[in-house]
């Protein structure tokens, strides 16, 4: 497991990077961090984080790893919000998640039917 790159961020406590999930595992997003791998200076990491957010990787969102390429999962295919995206390892490393079985930090997810009953 990769050591968290930003130890002062409470988001990383107890969570994994999306890049580490196995095929078929579901998880809930806890946050996004700007990793060194994607930031090439000039703050380009910000636009990638923003784009990840725009396609649905927000705290509380539920995602599932649909496929992983060999040699360390570069890239992986992730289903989020009903759409499937291919992410490189470095991009997936910027997304922190918690496995769905464990108690999630944010329980409000976008897609469970439970919220419909509650509404």
């Amino acid at each position: 497991m990769n050591p968290p790159l930003s130890t002062s961020d409470s988001v990383t406590n107890g969570s994994l990077a999306l890049a580490e999930l196995r095929r078929g595992q579901s998880a809930v997003v806890t946050g996004l961090i700007d990793t060194a791998a994607i930031d090439t200076g000039r703050g380009s990491g910000d636009s990638l984080i923003a784009r990840l957010r725009d396609i649905g990787f927000v705290p509380g969102a539920r995602c599932e790893v649909v496929a992983r390429m060999w040699l360390g999962g570069d890239p992986i295919a992730v289903r989020i919000g009903g759409s499937t995206f291919a992410l490189r390892r470095a991009e997936a490393a910027a997304v922190r998640v918690q496995l769905a079985r464990e108690p999630a930090i944010a329980t409000e997810a976008l897609t469970p039917r439970a919220s419909v009953a509650a509404a």
């Binding site: 890239p75 295919a77 009903g82 976008l110």
Partner: protein, 620 residues
């Protein structure tokens, strides 16, 4: 003043994330009344269409490039934002925005809709693919969504006739005439804005009862197979293989029809017209020239059938996913896959598609190797040479000719990768380039789309043959006929003409690689379009035939007079040679300098010559 405003058409812009069916809806709204141009100053397409309305004012519909957000990461997305804000020269902000959202992928589309709503423009939501959504168990309370969002929401099924009727009803110009108050405002989305929008989105989704779509177990299984590292790559190879086998085996019969038809036409012309320049122009210029190119129509159709089917099914991004690692190892961005794939139809849209690659070095590398991808214009040349020189044998279950063409395509791709690897050495510190590619739902290709696309391709090809190719052949015929040989001269008349003399001159350059003067001449008009070389060979050989029997069958002539070494050398030349001035012009436009097209032309010609040289020497 009011009367003026009242009478002009209502200007509508269609906005949506990629793959939401926006373009199908656009086609549904505008029918055949579409106009495609470029946005000023950039090579992004501007698709505008018209629709008549009952009150006579009419609609002008603009199909904007798909985008995930109004914070752009590529040029296309920037254009979408700028058009909505009315920033682009020559167009004010639209009167009405139709936000197209795929009901099956509601979250991602609705998020964009929220962003667009913040602009303050009058807006309507078209909830597309409602039929698919219902089938997959997605229930959306449209009325509730409309109330919560504060805009009109209509369901649409863009692919079905009449599927956009609800939307069309809503688009009565009178309804929207006086709704625009202030011009649109936009500012870069901050993290707080994003969080707020996410909160709104969550609320909306909960309230409208959206639940994740059911996935058919079959599709899930197929997808798992396609994305599996081992099975997926094997399937990819198999698909490509089948494609090239089919290009030869399926096309054989129709090609023979056309060939025989051309031969009959030629015979008729020679027999029924008085001997003289007109008969010669028709049979040797037109029929032997343009007619020879027309013969390859079936192969082009089959090639595009596969390309379009693969595109429509959503398979291509999956192939990009599988090959991303390989591309990365030679220094190519993962986003380079789709442009390089488009280059197999034609390098020009491929080069323009590199706009989606944010990193300049990656983009340049991709542009430099795009012409090495075997474009569809090379197909007639390959087809002719393979048919003439490679026996139609079978090795096991495989057609030898199909194998050879597969090999040629593979050679193109491989050389592209090697060149990319070479260029990587000159790169500076490796900048990170993102992938973030959407894998659209895998689906069975839509027959209607496929047929429409094929019909377009047929029209393009035929109009090309009847246009520039025919014109070039006529000019070539002229240059090959005059000046006429002096009385008492021996040998074919063509040797004494402009073309003949030029051919003899060029032959000095091309003799070391085994090209005879006929080939040398044919390469010249081939600079305008690769297929023209085939037509030029047809004309030149038809005119070289002495006696009255003018055969319009090029293949047997080539099979008889060329050595295998010459043929293979020409094939090797065509794999590399930049025989297309248009491509170089596009590169200049996209890179804004003469340096890169010049480098490209030089390195490609050099590679072509070397490859042809080596092939020729090795084989003779």
């Amino acid at each position: 003043m009011d009367a003026l405003v009242e009478s002009r058409p209502l200007r509508i812009a269609l906005v949506g994330v990629p793959n939401c069916g926006k373009t199908a809806l656009f086609n549904r709204l505008t029918g055949g009344r579409q106009k495609v141009a470029n946005y000023p100053g950039v090579t992004v397409e501007r698709r505008e269409g018209e629709r008549a309305t009952a009150d006579g004012r009419g609609l002008r519909v603009l199909d904007l490039p798909g985008t995930y957000s109004l914070n752009p990461t590529t040029l296309d997305e920037a254009i979408t934002r700028d058009v909505l804000l009315g920033r682009l020269a020559g167009s004010a902000a639209p009167d009405l925005v139709v936000c197209v959202v795929d009901a099956v992928h509601l979250p991602i589309g609705l998020r964009l809709a929220l962003e667009v709503k913040r602009l303050g423009l009058p807006m309507v939501l078209a909830l597309n693919r409602m039929d698919v959504a219902k089938r997959r168990g997605v229930g959306i309370d449209i009325a509730r969504l409309s109330t919560e969002l504060g805009v009109a929401v209509v369901p649409t099924v863009a692919v079905r006739r009449g599927g956009a009727d609800a939307l069309i009803e809503l688009l009565e110009p009178a309804r929207w005439s006086n709704t625009r108050s202030a011009p649109p405002v936009w500012r870069q989305t901050t993290a707080e804005d994003a969080e707020q929008m996410q909160g709104d989105l969550r609320g909306l989704l909960a309230v409208t009862g959206f639940s994740a779509p059911r996935i058919s177990p079959w599709i899930a299984r197929i997808d798992a197979l396609l994305l599996n590292p081992f099975a997926g790559l094997a399937i990819l190879l198999a698909v490509l293989f089948v494609m090239f086998q089919a290009v030869f085996s399926w096309a054989a019969a129709p090609m023979d029809w056309i060939k025989n038809g051309m031969a009959a036409l030629g015979a008729y012309t020679t027999a029924h017209l008085p001997h003289g320049p007109v008969a010669s122009l028709l049979s040797e210029g037109v029929i032997a020239g343009a007619g020879t190119v027309l013969v390859f129509l079936p192969q082009i159709v089959i090639l595009f059938f596969f390309i379009l089917a693969l595109e429509d099914s959503g398979y291509l991004p999956r192939a990009a996913y599988l090959l991303d690692r390989f591309m990365g190892s030679v220094g190519l961005s993962g986003r380079a896959f789709i442009p390089l794939l488009s280059s197999h139809a034609c390098a020009i849209p491929g080069i323009m598609a590199t706009r989606t690659i944010p990193n300049w070095r990656d983009r340049l590398t991709t542009i430099m190797i795009a012409p090495l991808m075997t474009c569809s214009a090379r197909l007639p040349v390959y087809g002719l040479l393979i048919a003439a020189l490679i026996p139609a044998r079978h090795i096991g279950p495989f057609n030898l000719q199909g194998l050879v063409i597969f090999g040629l395509y593979a050679a193109g791709i491989l050389s592209g990768l090697l060149v990319a690897l070479f260029l990587k050495q000159f790169g500076g510190k490796r900048q990170y380039s993102p992938l973030m590619l959407e894998l659209p739902d895998f689906q069975w290709p839509h027959a209607g789309n496929l047929l429409l696309g094929l019909w377009e391709r047929v029209k393009i090809f035929v109009s090309r043959v009847g246009g520039i190719i025919l014109a070039l052949m006529i000019v070539l015929w002229f240059l090959s006929t005059y000046p006429m040989p002096p009385p008492g001269a021996t040998g074919p008349a063509i040797q004494y003409s402009f073309a003949g003399k030029l051919g003899a001159l060029l032959q000095h350059v091309f003799a070391p690689i085994g090209f005879n003067w006929q080939i040398s001449i044919a390469l010249v008009p081939g600079l305008a379009a690769r297929e023209v070389a085939v037509g030029a060979l047809g004309t030149v050989y038809a005119m070289s035939a002495s006696g009255n029997d003018v055969s319009t069958q090029l293949e047997p002539v080539i099979a008889g007079s060329w050595s295998l070494a010459t043929g293979c050398s020409l094939l090797a030349w065509y794999v590399f040679a930049p025989q297309c001035l248009s491509t170089l012009a596009v590169v200049k436009r996209e890179t804004n300098s003469w340096r890169y097209p010049l480098i490209m032309a030089t390195y490609l010609f050099a590679l072509a010559y070397i490859a042809a040289f080596v092939t020729f020497r090795v084989m003779s």
